[in-house]
Amino acid sequence: MEKQFIKPVSLKNNRHLYCSGCGHGIVHRLIAEVIDELNIRERTIGIAPVGCAVFAYDYFNFDVTEAPHGRPPAVATGIKRVLPDRIIFTYQGDGDLAAIGISEIIHAANRGENITVVFINNANYGMTGGQLAPTTLTGQKTLTTPLGRQIRSDGYPLKICELLNSIDGTVFLARSSVNNIKNINQTKKHIKHAFQNQIDNKGFSLVEILSQCPPSWGKQPVDSLRWIDEVMVKTYPLGIIKDN
């Protein structure tokens, strides 16, 4: 019988250091499957963020570089401009992309850099123990919002896809999640489309992925999956925001 479920060549055999129930591992696998299917592994260069995915180079089986916190879009620009035929993607969390790196992502998008961005929105800083992120939901308790996020002092949840939608340099913006099979399949479609756009020289594509973070959310893994459906999507509705 033919093997139905095999490990993508684009993933190394290393053990993940992610927590139980974390969404990162699923997204890594989806990216690896897409890169295998598009046959671009040998010309792909990934850019790892600072955050939970900082060890991405130990999981992906292709060239990967580190970048300072928030700077992957600038690093991607520096690579892509001198190697325009390589496939360059950044993998960034919400602290990296939406807080300290908000300038770099906006301007890379505005220059219409022909790169792919995979943006993990788990509504907190996971790596450092679960602090307030720009994406933290109103009322959500974190390490630094013990009473829950208060609009008056902490501001509003930042909607990255909607923000970038106003920028003419973007060609594809989509939001999905990895909390059930249907959404995982949808996420894979988005990721594949975002890479295909780059292959076709179409420009800047970003895929936002709502990703479960059980320890920081103080929830069991199964409850985290449910929380995305019941709470998170109300602030961050799923779907394609732009597809030019």
Binding site: T65, A74, R81, E104, H107
Partner: protein, 346 residues
């Protein structure tokens, strides 16, 4: 035949970088180095190379990091406040062992300071302005000719040691125009780069990173860096000596100040005063050996800087008590006259 061209200091840096095979330039507007990005924006496009005016100094240095990851020669330039913003990136370049050329056309500080030439960034450049144990080669020109010549050397040294190299000049040198002999051969990017990321075709995947979390791993890496820095200390020290053979007084000065001191020496020598000068060309590695060797024979050393006293600390370490070390400084973007310096030499 020697090709003599009238050039501004900032332009000389650009033309030398282009001749040295610099394929990408990233910058952000700041006075007094705007001629560099203006010139590069024209020339790099003409040559079908990469020019980006970045959204910030931070983005510019990280674009440099990205291009360097591919093994491509790359440069950024700025002036003092902008260089402060690049310090995190410089630390990462050192931690990832990535070559890059960073130009600092210094202006007065601290804070926004002014736009006049200054030497206030000696500490920041030579002692490591960013976090962690690292060193960066720092080269200090004193003429437009040297801005041209040393820029080419910064690219070679950066590749040779897989380390960022800084060209440290000031607003005066950046702005003046002088004839330059442009007879340096076109540089070949000849260093073997078996570490670059360009896609893993026909080889195992590579990673570039400075995060070393395993037990003892970071310590070992720092010792490796230390070996490299020691090799640079042994191999790459450069200085110019002026009339030191019979000197009883020696000036130590770098950059534009050393240039003024040439006239000081001429005038004082005409009066029969036995005075000479050591001009460090590499500020790191510092020419401590020659200073230590001559110190015992001198009445004193006079360190002259356009700051409140920075290089003087390295001179005192090199002299190690063998003769008195005097300091004469001028901070805040002010420049010396020859007579002012002469009045301080007893």
């Amino acid at each position: 035949m020697k090709n003599r061209v009238l050039m501004q200091g900032n332009t000389a840096i650009c033309e030398s970088a282009i001749m040295s095979g610099c394929i990408a330039y990233y910058g952000y507007p700041i006075t007094p180095q705007n001629e560099i990005s203006a010139h590069m924006s024209k020339r790099m496009r003409e040559l079908n190379r990469v020019f980006i005016q970045a959204e910030s100094e931070i983005a510019a240095i990280n674009m440099v990091l990205g291009t360097s990851v591919t093994g491509t020669r790359v440069m950024t330039s700025s002036s003092s406040p902008g260089i402060s913003l690049k310090q995190e990136g410089i630390s990462y370049l050192c931690g990832c062992e990535l070559p890059a050329v960073i130009v600092n056309i210094m202006r007065g500080g601290p804070g926004l300071g002014n736009i006049s030439g200054s030497q206030g960034d000696y500490f920041q450049s030579t002692k490591g302005g960013g976090h962690g144990d690292y060193k960066m080669i720092v080269m200090s020109p004193d003429s437009v000719q040297e801005m041209y010549d040393l820029t080419a050397d910064t690219f070679e040294l950066a590749d040779k040691y897989r380390n960022p190299v800084m060209l440290l000049a000031d607003g005066y040198l950046g702005q003046i125009m002088e004839p330059v002999i442009v007879d340096k051969p076109v540089m070949k990017n000849s260093f073997e780069k078996n570490w670059v990321l360009d896609g893993c075709k026909n080889r195992a995947p590579r990673k570039i990173r400075s995060l070393l979390m395993n037990d003892g791993e970071l310590e070992q890496f720092n010792w490796h860096l230390n070996d490299k820095y020691n090799k640079i200390r042994q191999t790459e020290v450069r200085y110019e000596s002026v009339n030191i053979e019979d000197a009883e007084i020696v000036i130590v000065a770098f950059g534009i100040v050393a240039r003024i001191c040439r006239d000081v020496i001429l005038k004082l020598r005409a009066k029969g005063i036995k005075i000479g000068m050591i001009r460090p060309v590499t500020l790191w590695p510092f020419p401590e050996k020659i200073i230590g060797e001559i110190a015992g024979k001198l009445k004193y050393i006079s360190v002259i800087e356009m700051n409140l006293g920075q290089m003087v600390e390295d001179v005192r370490l090199a002299v190690n008590g063998k003769c008195p070390v005097e300091f004469f400084g001028k901070p805040g973007g002010a420049i010396f006259t020859v007579d002012e310096i002469i009045s301080k030499i007893k």
